[in-house]
Structure formats: structure tokens, C-alpha cells
């Protein structure tokens, strides 16, 4: 099975897609689900879906690790003409997964109790993001 998931984002942050991911394999028996994000400025992430402060802290950490390109510490960056959020988005997209595999048992992704699946948007402007799904 090859399918595509479309996610409309509204600026930087984590967008949970656990429900859509589970729906995609319902009734699918045992197998392996692959997610692949078809962009270079957003990422996939498996993270805790219980306390929303985890997401707030993750965003804050990555913003400090890779500040906007108009921040003094980032003055060495050259790819800046698409805005101060652009090159940091590429860097975060290098640091975080572009593809993700989850074993599926009896049509259910074998996520742990606290694991949710997220699209991590790194750009400020709204984007329509496409995730390729493969199940076999």
C-alpha cells in the first residue's frame, strides 16, 4: 500500500497525526508501516503525547539549538533570502527524521503507551505538507 497524508500547518510546531497513521493500517494485519515526509523544512517525530509542555519544551530547545538566521550567532549562514526561518528549517530537517518505521501487529501500530506521531513544522508560514505512507 502506498498512500499520501496531507497536513495543513500554521507555523512552527508539532502537529499530531497519530490518528491518521493508525487509520491507515486498520484491518491491515501484521506488517511494517513507513512514513516519509516529502519536504526539506519539516520533520517527523515520535514523542510523548501526554503532557503538552513536552512539546513546548521541544520547540524551545530546537529554537535555541538552531536560532533564526538573523540571530547574531547565526551570521555565518548564507542561504537567507527566503527569510530567517528558512535555513534553520533545513538544519532542523537534517537533525530530525525524514522517514520513520513502525511495526504493525493485527492492524495496530506498535506504539508505546506514551508515543504519539507528529509532523514537526519548521517554517513560520502555513504550508501544505505531504507524508508518503507505505504499508507492507
Amino acid at each position: 500500500m502506498n498512500r499520501e497524508l496531507q497536513i495543513q500547518t500554521q507555523g512552527q510546531g508539532l502537529y499530531e497525526v497519530t490518528g491518521q497513521v493508525c487509520d491507515a493500517v486498520t484491518g491491515g494485519g501484521d506488517g511494517l508501516l513507513t512514513l516519509f515526509v516529502r519536504h526539506t523544512s519539516c520533520s517527523l517525530l515520535v514523542q510523548e503525547n501526554a503532557d503538552p509542555e513536552v512539546q513546548t519544551d521541544l520547540k524551545a530547545f530546537f529554537r535555541r539549538l538552531v536560532p533564526p538566521s538573523d540571530h547574531p550567532s547565526m551570521s555565518y549562514l548564507r542561504h537567507t533570502y527566503e527569510g530567517p526561518d528558512d535555513m534553520p528549517a533545513h538544519i532542523k530537517a537534517a537533525l530530525l527524521p525524514v522517514s520513520l518505521q513502525i511495526p504493525v501487529s493485527g492492524g495496530v501500530p506498535m506504539l508505546g503507551t506514551w508515543q504519539g506521531v507528529y509532523l514537526f513544522e519548521h517554517r513560520d508560514a502555513p504550508h501544505k505538507r505531504r507524508i508518503a505512507l507505505h504499508f507492507d
Copy 2:
């Protein structure tokens, strides 16, 4: 094949699972092995298994990159009620792989000469960790 590996950890560090991973596909012919860790505060890692100082240095680097949340530089973190090692563990679990794929040839994972497979525990307290294995 869907199977589960259980690893008992004793604080932060790398726990080698190369042997168990190889055992799981012995006699399995050609295929693809997937490991998926069912937690949000530990990671999978493929790294050098020759010089143990590589592991010491990896731990030291990640502890400097993501210090405990009671370190002054981490005062912006909010998710701190489970202890100073908790939110840094989530951050490291975002930076390092939750899933890992290794091609298998003739029942042998195609690891390079110096590659070992590790569970990277990011919490201080002992934990029982579960890794889902899928082979196809």
C-alpha cells in the same frame, strides 16, 4: 516476524544489543530488520563497538548538548516535575533514532565491521525497555 526484545537498564548509557539483534534473524535468509523502541526517553543507536571511549565521549557530548533541567542554561524548560533528567531525555529521544532498519543477507544483519547496535538510555533510574523487532 514481529518479536519484542526487553532490556533492563541501570541509568544513562549505551547498552549493546548487537548479539540479540543478530540472534533474532539467524536462519532468516534475506530481508529487512526493523527495530522500534516503544518509549520517549531512550533511543536506538548504531555506533562503534571497538573502543569503549567512543561511548564515554558520546555520553559526554549529549550531556553537554542537553544538560539536566536544573542546569542554569536549561531554566526555560517547563516539564520538570519528573526530575532533572526527564525533559533532557525526551529531547535526546527526539535527536536520536526511535526506529532503525538493517538489511539482512543470509540471516546476517549487514552491519559494517565496526558497527554495534545499542539502546541509549537517557533516564537515571533503572527501566525495563521494550524494542519491537520486525523482520520480513
Copy 3:
């Protein structure tokens, strides 16, 4: 299908392998392509292949995040006898993917418009790098 790709590198940097990766699945129908790099001092990366300054900036970012081990900030590192680029190479190989999965549709990897596939060499000296390919 299990196959191996060999890449001759000439020092640190990104080496595009998109063409070879596409060739490997041409005529292959639908499926899942896995790349697995059999080393602990280089990485796989999916990144923008339009503006070469993105690659310059990525290299610069990772060199700042993980400076050579003779840099004062890295004096805590112990695994240094193979040169100042060695342990930083292992650290970057931990931070960036060792394995990568791309869904394939009609013999074509489902890469986004701007996505290229790269080997990211982290060592200074030339190396012959081996990438295991699996397609199913």
C-alpha cells in the same frame, strides 16, 4: 533485492547519490527502498538539492555544533588518537541517519521536488564508503 553502492569521498562534505539511488529501483514497481550506511563516521541525509549554499550552511552548522577535538570546547573528549576529526565524526554519525527508507511508486522513489539523497562524509581523509541497498 540486496545491493551495495560504493562512494569514494574526498574529505568532509555532502556527496549526492540521488541518481544511483533512483537507478537501483528503475523498473522495480512499487515497494520500499532502504539505504543503510555501513560505517560509524559518515551519514545519510535527505536535503535540498537546489541551492548549493544549503549544503555549505549545513556543513558549517555541524562543524560549529561538533567542533574538531583539538578545539578548546572539546577538551573533554578522550577518543582522539585517530585525529581531531575522528570523534566529532562519530558524534555526527550518531546525530544523523545511518538508515533511510523511501517508498517507491512505479519504480520511482517518492522524493519531494527539492529532495536529494546524500552521503555526508565526516572524515577529512578520502574514504571508500559502502551503502547497503534493500528493495522489497
